[in-house]
Symmetry: C2
Subunit: 739 residues, 2 copies
């Protein structure tokens, strides 16, 4: 077991040590006499998140984009700041609806960035001026977001218009390559078969759009080089990954648009003629995600278990091992990677396998230096010579702070706290754990202890499950969604943040997960179901048993919450196990029969075929709506869209007289949907209050008198009265219900 | 058996007989030497339909609204005509996007009508002027139709804006009562449970709207009397059914908005104060559909069988019988009803029980006079004294014509043919039939014989089924939807138009149908399934057997087509019976598990409960997508919207290697849907051509070389090659495949 609570409180200690440094240090209010205040839902909603950062060319300043909320204006904002590292002075440059691709400009103290300041996403420059200066605008006729007539794209932002999608300057800045989003030809043909089945759950009509790849010369001539479908991921997300040359450039597009195994095509463009000629097709998307090592090969973590091999594979297939480490590289949540100009040294973001958190690995031919603490270095930027960089340091109990990191020595020094509001909260006791289930599978996770915990008292417990997102980040929305983890702990719940048993830590699960993803393999549907769902439920049951036997948890008052992947586990758990008395399932419907036509490949692995004929038995074994009569828990489903499978589950629970509520959180208008990760603060607050009221009602018989039940308590009482009793009875335990 | 072909051809004969009358007669081109030309899909699309007609106060003119198509402009139009009955001169007054409530104005040769001439539906007057004159406009901010941001309402029109929904003049025309459609308050609350489940299959976001009930004085003061939800059917469809008095009026609203058993509330309004006071609530909607007889009681057809009692039930419950007749009153498709000013005589539209068609019944204390021919009188208007009226006369083989009807004598004389285009087509041989199945149930219907039929040759056959719409109307869209019945006959198919065995003709089916509709009853789900679906399939099988033994049909080349209710029967037929080799199912998905949350009441009767637990077996017995592996027929589904259940059925058929295609017909834009009855001519034509190509391919091995297969023939060949063979083999018959 790692991550003892002492180490958490010790974080606060370091602050004073650093007080004498030239670097500015703003000490948390918690360092005053009072131990700090308690968590509120507003605190959770307003945790700032740095999504992008870039050191100026001379290293004097840091520019960064912070995702934050404007509670009064009820919107999510992206705020662009400049931070003077010498003085610690921070200046707000812009508040944007959307922002992307912040990059420092070589040779001067300036940056480029894509911002939507109200006229759609365009290219801006930040330099001596107080505000962002428009560099390039492309008429923004296409709106991206979950609204009728928009281009649907994975997003956690309000619908926003996009002019410039991506950009790339030539090294000498004489040429500007960019991708623009434009309306496509409207298509009202008769549609057939897969064109129709794809619309089974389509609630909105998307707009047709295309990506224009364009080149602009220093004298302002603007040339359309190519027009690509938005399904071309290289064009849409990466502006076609340009490689600049002396007299021209090479760009890459995805020809198969993700339909079958990916394929790219390279094109060479000469500046003189501005004509593109094909340079041939390549399997996969080699123009991205290529992590080149000191030996010129590709770096990757290989193997399974708590320690993994870091391997560099040369073009000829020869493998060089850097040894075994308790981390892996390439996790999209980890810090990025930086290569020294001579290519001899790299700094790589890593994620640890046990006690999940983020750190750095400095890689050279000489070997590896790991920079790992009890906390996470979740985002960074480094000087070109890798002599030092600035990172965001955070943990489950420490708010994000900027620290200075020196790859050479591994030295970490504090620069600035990012949120005085959250520094002022007395940290909760949070401990890191590894658990084993009946099958000897290992799962990692954390316990958030009740505030004012009294030893020997069994507490009500809520398990929060979401794939692998339980790690050392501060109140991260990826992990806790709209589950008020910290507020639950304040109210006297034991909150268990638990990851699924990962195939990386449990090799025998790999085949099942692989078959789920690829649809191919030799396992029976039942075996696939056991690997990725049923076994996870066993883990949850076994963790609770341990906590009960430790005297920490009251077995008769256990709840479960999860969204997305977590909603799968939550829905399966309550229909496979009698352990749970209350559940909150967030915006999911996977595993329901209704989704078959949308995910035939996965469902073929999980169920064998469509929900018909002999395959139906495989659905009855796992699909929550077909097992509603097995449920004991009162099930709350909080939705961003009215997913058919979630509605089916709700209807089946009701028909089985199991308490069930489905709540749909609105978008900005009736023609707009909330996003999978809610972006509307009032929705996040209402959903958290609903979760507080729901679990208090079903686990602690506490009926909310405030607005948090949205006037639903009457319905809950009625459901409780008319429910069919199919819950197992556990030996009674004297239960402690905090005020 | 009725409806011999001779009587059909004889129709043409009558024309010359009438030639000598003062009444104008335009004789069909078919009366020239040539027997007339053959049917094309364009002929079917362009059949005119009179939807409303009104004689002028003095009886000199008839105004009528004709639903027709503009093939070049690719839109459905409502054309308003004036017809001078003396001269037979017809003048077009207006071409509207939408039109409703055509009413003659007392005391002058003028009419009121609601028209959308481009500025939304408003109130117009037609009088001496050449064009319609605007009387009342209410700002049209709400669009009605199947498009995003519209008010969804059952409609077969393109989306159109509505200002005035309904109107009602006081007898002295000093007061104008009207209903206006206005935007309602936009609602972006969190939604719960039934508010969410109602959105399971919602593809578009509707706009919130309300109905304003308003009163306008002769001096132009306009007063808002009440605001009602659009779910109030009395307010939305009937402008609150006003009763005018001396010093005020009484209006009725639906208080329960159809949520539970309907309830109305009456309000009294005094002209002096313009204040409404409640006059109490009443069960049901007594302000509508009240058919008052000569004795002051309510008229209704009672009983079952081929002959029904026409009964007048007095307020005290006493019943007066007018005797038994082979018709019933109150069918919404039949002509309306007219009462003489003294209330002593009525003319009622009726529908016959055997050989289904429409006629009239003249009711007085003396008794009943029936006006019935071999054809239908499908729409009429009569003089106030009921001395005479004008009706639309039509049959399956006779295009609509205006005739003069004298209730006193029953005399019918021709006035005008409505469509020279269709008069010019050589009528097909169409015979009326009654069939009995193995359970002695009776079904009515018609056989459309192949053009150039050669006795003794077995022909491929297509059964067209749609509830009860098979009757003597001319190429009516209600019956044949986008099934090219006449074009099939031209190509050498035997086309059977067949009604379901009706509970009225088959009393023992009544309980099953009643339970389906009410959700209440003591029958088992299996018995309900047998009454309304399985038994219908037995009827189809037995009809085909008779036609095969008559030597008319080749058992190995039988297809089935149906939309709406007909799509239920089609999908059940192909998954219960091996008889059918090809099917076309139109815009349906009822009986699929996915619809449970939308129709719990019906599904409780049909399946017992949700598609889970033990109820699943009841779904496996009937739901087409759960029985796809039983199907032999190649199934085409033509859709106006991508209904989830239809997609499930398609996916299951494909998984079972049964040939299947689902085709989605587009609306005007990507944000608009086609309507259940297609209103876009190009869609109707394409769907009919697709049906021609589909059945030719699967029943006659004819591969279309024209555009009618929309380039899909290649896919069909591939499906035919890879299909699983689960069709029964029948004794081979020498088959005649026309060129």
């Amino acid at each position: 077991m790692t991550g003892k609570p002492r180490t958490k409180y010790a974080n606060l200690g370091r602050c004073s040590l650093l007080g004498g440094l030239a670097l500015i240090v703003s000490c948390p209010a918690a360092m005053a006499d009072d131990p700090g205040r308690r968590w509120t839902p507003e605190d959770i909603v307003s945790v700032p998140k740095v999504i992008s950062m870039a050191l100026s060319y001379d290293g004097a300043e840091l520019a960064y984009l912070e995702r934050t909320v404007d509670i009064a204006g009820n919107r999510t904002l992206l705020v662009l700041y400049r931070l003077d590292l010498a003085s610690g002075a921070r200046a707000e440059v812009a508040r944007a609806i959307a922002a992307d691709k912040l990059e420092a400009i070589a040779g001067k103290r300036a940056w480029n960035v894509l911002l939507d300041l109200g006229d759609g996403q365009q290219l801006y420059q930040i330099d001596s001026g107080a505000s962002a200066r428009l560099v390039l605008a492309s008429e923004a006729k296409v709106t991206v977001g979950q609204a009728e007539g928009n281009l649907f794209a994975v997003s956690s932002l309000a619908p926003h218009r996009v002019g410039v999608l991506a950009y790339d300057w030539s090294p000498d800045r004489r040429w500007l390559w960019y991708a623009a989003l434009k309306p496509g030809p409207s298509d009202t043909r008769v549609q057939f078969d897969s064109e129709v089945t794809a619309q089974k759950h389509r609630r909105r009509a998307p707009v047709p759009a295309v990506v224009e790849l364009r080149l602009r010369s220093s004298s302002g001539e603007d040339t359309l080089i190519a027009t690509r479908p938005t399904s071309d991921r290289l064009a849409f997300y990466l502006g076609a990954t340009v490689r600049w040359g002396e007299d021209g450039l090479r760009y890459f597009v995805e020809t198969t648009s993700g339909i079958k195994s990916d394929e790219s095509e390279a094109f060479d463009l000469k500046f003189a003629s501005l004509v593109s000629t094909s340079a041939g097709t390549l399997p996969g998307l080699p123009s991205v995600d290529y992590l080149k090592g000191p030996h010129g090969g590709q770096l990757a973590s290989e193997g399974t278990g708590a320690s993994l091999d870091l391997i560099e594979t040369g073009p000829d297939g020869t493998k060089h091992s850097y040894g075994r480490y308790g981390f892996y590289i390439g996790d999209p949540r980890s810090a990025a990677s930086w290569r020294s100009e001579d290519g001899k040294r790299l700094v790589l973001g890593v994620r640890t396998t046990t006690h999940p958190r983020y750190g750095l690995a400095v890689v050279s031919k000489a070997g590896i230096r790991t920079i790992l603490t009890g906390k996470s270095l979740s985002r960074c930027d480094f000087r070109a010579d890798l002599s030092w960089g600035i990172c965001v340091e955070e943990s489950l109990s420490q708010p994000p702070r900027f620290v200075r990191v020196e790859p050479g020595s591994g030295r970490i020094t504090k620069v600035l706290t990012l949120s005085a509001r959250h520094e002022a909260i007395a940290p909760l006791k949070i401990t890191a754990h590894q658990w084993k289930n009946r099958a000897d599978h290992i799962a990692t996770g954390f316990i958030v202890w009740p505030r004012d915990y009294i030893k020997g008292q069994p507490y009500p417990a809520i398990l929060v499950t979401h794939g692998s997102d339980a790690d050392e980040r501060f109140a991260d929305q990826d992990l806790q969604w709209d589950f008020p983890v910290q507020a639950w702990a304040e109210r006297g719940y034991v909150v268990v943040l638990i990851n699924d048993p990962s195939p990386r830590l449990n090799p025998d699960l790999m085949a099942g997960y692989a078959q789920w993803r690829s649809g191919k393999g030799h396992l029976s549907p039942a075996k696939v179901q056991d690997s990725a769902w049923i076994g996870v439920v066993h883990m949850l049951e076994d963790v609770v048993s341990q906590l009960v036997s430790d005297g920490l948890v009251d077995r008769s008052r256990v709840g479960i919450a999860g969204y997305s992947r977590g909603s799968q586990i939550t829905n399966v758990a309550v229909t496979q196990s009698g352990l749970f008395r209350a559940a909150s399932s967030g915006d999911g419907s996977f595993l329901e029969p209704s989704a078959w036509s949308q995910v035939t490949r996965s469902y073929t692995a999980i169920f064998g075929g469509p929900p018909a004929g002999d395959f139906l038995e495989n659905y009855r074994r796992l699909s929550p709506s077909l097992r509603a009569d097995h449920a004991c828990a009162a099930v709350l489903q909080q939705m961003a869209t009215p997913l058919a499978g979630a509605i089916d589950f709700h209807m089946s629970l009701r028909a089985a007289r199991v308490p069930s509520q489905i709540s749909l959180y609105p978008g900005e208008t009736t023609a707009t949907d909330e996003t999978h990760l809610f972006h509307i603060p009032s929705n996040r607050l209402a959903a958290m209050r609903e979760n507080l009221a729901w679990f208090d009602f079903w686990l602690r018989d506490v009926e909310q008198t405030d607005a948090s039940s949205a006037g639903r308590a009457g319905h809950w009482i009625e459901m409780a009265r008319s429910r069919r009793d199919n819950c197992p009875t556990f030996p009674a335990i004297s239960s402690h219900a905090p005020p």
